[in-house]
């Protein structure tokens, strides 16, 4: 009889019940969407951040020598040092090697770039674009013996017009920054000359053809990129590099430990985490998560208000029915059970629909905000339904109190 009363009561007031369910759907779908995103976004956004560049910088260890007069400090001088290119593979032999997404060496030199119409002092950068290294002594026998890396791996966000240098032995092509292209009035396919001379070496020149023009809105826009051996030969620094940029997946991994291990693996270098980037990454994720919980709380509160309004209206409209039930012997706990069961059903249906709607919402938010696909998490389903039932039951406290205080003698009074 209870289920008959319950089902008929719900069907009789289906418009209001649907409105209450919709209120729950809003809260449950928001909670589902944000919980799904929260589950996924940390790893996926972290991976996404890694696409925006390296987060570890390896430089040669330098000793600074203070100079000046007794009692007068006028600064320091540093000894120019290099990292050996032959040590690069060792980065893939540290304990956290699987978190190393890629790395690229850099050798910088200011050179003179000459075209038929102009010449300009430009930074020439020698690097790897896409080079396969042999891992001479792997950390584990299960590790792969080779590792392909370069700026293509650690800087996928570069906007490129033209093509990449694909051959590590290519000595005739260059990729130039967009500012360089403008300054030297160069387009893809055109050839220019770079010349280098210092106090100890004779002048050397090389002709290069523009293979691609890159835009990063950073320092790269002002540089000419060539294969590392081209720069090493031109500047007479065989096997030498200035820095290594390492891209590491650093969600919850100890970046400082990571850096220390690289320092141990390659003698004579300093490895520093680009803390600013890491901190911004983690701070942003924390802010996003806080915002998600705030939005979820607000949505659930709005749902609660919607359900409470519907339930109170229902109690007011059904005062005579409640009074009648009491007059034929219904006790307070039976009236309470009827209303809480209605609330629970609203919560279950709203929670289920909200879960499905939330998955869709998560998918849309994932694509439009984070540019990642959010996977459905089944473990969110009981949470969504639990939250929906909790919200409806809590919202029913005031209406139920009102229902059990209905006085049959007053509401059933003849007119």
């Amino acid at each position: 009889m209870f289920t008959r009363i319950l089902s008929k009561s719900l069907r009789k007031r289906k418009t209001k019940i649907i409105l209450a369910i919709l209120a729950v759907v809003i809260g449950a779908s928001t909670a589902t969407a944000l919980l799904n995103i929260s589950y996924d976004v940390t790893d996926k956004v972290s991976l996404q951040f890694s696409k925006y560049g390296a987060n570890l910088l390896v430089t040669p260890h330098t000793d600074t020598i203070p100079v000046g007069f007794p009692g007068v400090d006028i600064g320091t001088v540093t000894d120019q040092r290099y990292i050996n290119e032959s040590d690069l593979w060792k980065i893939k032999t540290i304990y956290w090697r699987n978190n190393v997404l890629g790395f690229a060496p850099y050798l910088y030199q200011v050179v003179t770039a000459t075209t038929p119409t102009t010449h300009q002092q430009i930074v020439l950068t020698g690097t790897y674009f896409n080079k396969t290294l042999d891992i001479t002594t792997p950390y584990s026998p299960h590790d792969l013996p080779t590792f392909t890396t370069g700026v293509r791996q650690i800087s996928p966000w570069w906007h490129l017009n033209g093509g990449w240098i694909t051959d590590p032995n290519d000595t005739t092509n260059a990729m130039i920054g967009t500012t360089v292209a403008t300054t030297l009035n160069l387009t893809i396919g055109q050839t220019f000359t770079i010349t280098y001379q210092d106090q100890t070496t004779p002048k050397t020149s090389i002709n290069l053809t523009v293979l691609g023009i890159i835009t990063t809105n950073g320092n790269e826009d002002n540089q000419i990129f060539v294969n590392l051996p081209v720069a090493q030969t031109l500047t007479n620094r065989p096997g030498k590099i200035h820095t290594i940029q390492v891209s590491a997946l650093c969600n919850a991994c100890p970046v400082d430990t990571f850096a220390a291990e690289i320092t141990t693996a390659i003698p004579g270098v300093d490895a520093k985490s680009v803390k600013q980037l890491v901190n911004v990454e983690m701070d942003l994720l924390t802010r996003i998560r806080s915002m998600m919980f705030l939005v979820t709380a607000v949505a659930l509160f709005a749902s609660a208000l919607g359900v409470m309004t519907t339930m109170i209206t229902g109690v007011i409209e059904r005062q005579k029915e409640i009074g009648l039930m009491k007059s034929v012997g219904a006790e307070n706990h039976q009236i309470t059970a009827l209303f809480l069961s209605e609330a629970a059903i609203i919560g279950i249906i709203g929670g289920l629909i909200g879960y499905l709607a939330g998955l869709l919402l998560a998918h849309l938010i994932g694509l439009s905000v984070f540019s990642v696909t959010i996977s459905p998490h089944l473990e969110v389903l009981p949470i969504a339904i639990g939250l929906a039932i909790g919200v409806t039951l809590l919202s029913s406290i005031i209406p139920v109190r009102r229902a059990i205080h209905v006085e049959p003698a007053i509401v059933l009074r003849g007119e």
């Binding site: 039930m325 034929v328 012997g329 219904a330």
Partner: protein, 229 residues
């Protein structure tokens, strides 16, 4: 005279400092008797019926029904007492709009003890509604709704039937049907207390009590009985 089933002693119901609905009323109702209560509006008829129906409690005085002083028991015990001892017939029927005739009768069974659908069908048959078992109130005439209300009042075999203007909303024909039914119940031994404004209906009972300002104005036994026409 029959045994006293209900005894009121010095009963007073005061709503506020100036409104006294029942004023020091002492009255007995006898087993198997139909007592009609009449009086002008505000005389305390409905308040008295609510107290007898355990829907309200007096300010002072005692109400003893079938040996139990209902002024000394808890609200929960009062609910339990009501569903076991009393059947209520309302002027406005007060049927649950989304339940059928049969379900409205079974509702009283559900809150009483156990559901016996056949018994509910039998009671509806008894009040002439065997063909209306599965109709919701909106599809029943006023007289039919009142008969469902009577069936609901009878379903748990109460000792006392309280009726508040049971024909107040009915036309003459349906009113007569309902009154005949109440007379049959009285003949079967039910104790009936019926509030009415109608002198003819009031005189159908065994006894007519008139209230004015919450006090007994007259209490007479009716010699002649019959259905008004």
């Amino acid at each position: 005279m029959n045994d006293s089933l209900i005894t009121l002693r010095n009963l007073t119901k005061q709503y506020d400092a100036t409104t006294r609905a029942i004023d020091n009323l002492t009255l007995n109702f006898h087993k198997g008797e139909w007592t009609s209560i009449m009086g002008p509006s505000g005389s305390g008829k409905t308040t008295l019926l609510n107290i007898l129906g355990c829907l309200d409690i007096p300010t002072t005085g005692t109400v003893t029904i079938n040996g139990t002083d209902i002024t000394t028991i808890t609200a929960q015990q009062l609910t339990c007492f009501r569903r076991n001892q009393i059947g209520l017939i309302f002027q406005q029927y007060h049927l649950v709009p989304y339940l059928t005739s049969l379900e409205n009768v079974m509702l009283a069974q559900y809150y009483h003890k156990t559901i016996n659908e056949q018994k509910a069908i039998d009671v509806l048959h008894r009040v002439g509604l065997a063909h209306r078992l599965h109709h919701v109130p909106a599809h029943l005439s006023g007289g039919e709704q009142q008969r469902v209300c009577i069936a609901r009042a009878l379903i748990n075999d109460p000792k006392i039937l309280l009726a508040d203007e049971p024909t107040g909303n009915l036309d003459q024909k349906n009113g007569d049907i309902v009154l005949r039914l109440i007379q049959e119940l009285r003949e079967e031994g039910h104790t009936i207390i019926l509030v009415t404004h109608n002198e003819d209906i009031g005189r159908l009972g065994d006894r007519l009590v008139r209230l004015i300002d919450g006090r007994i104005a007259s209490d007479i036994r009716i010699e002649k009985k019959g259905v008004s026409s």
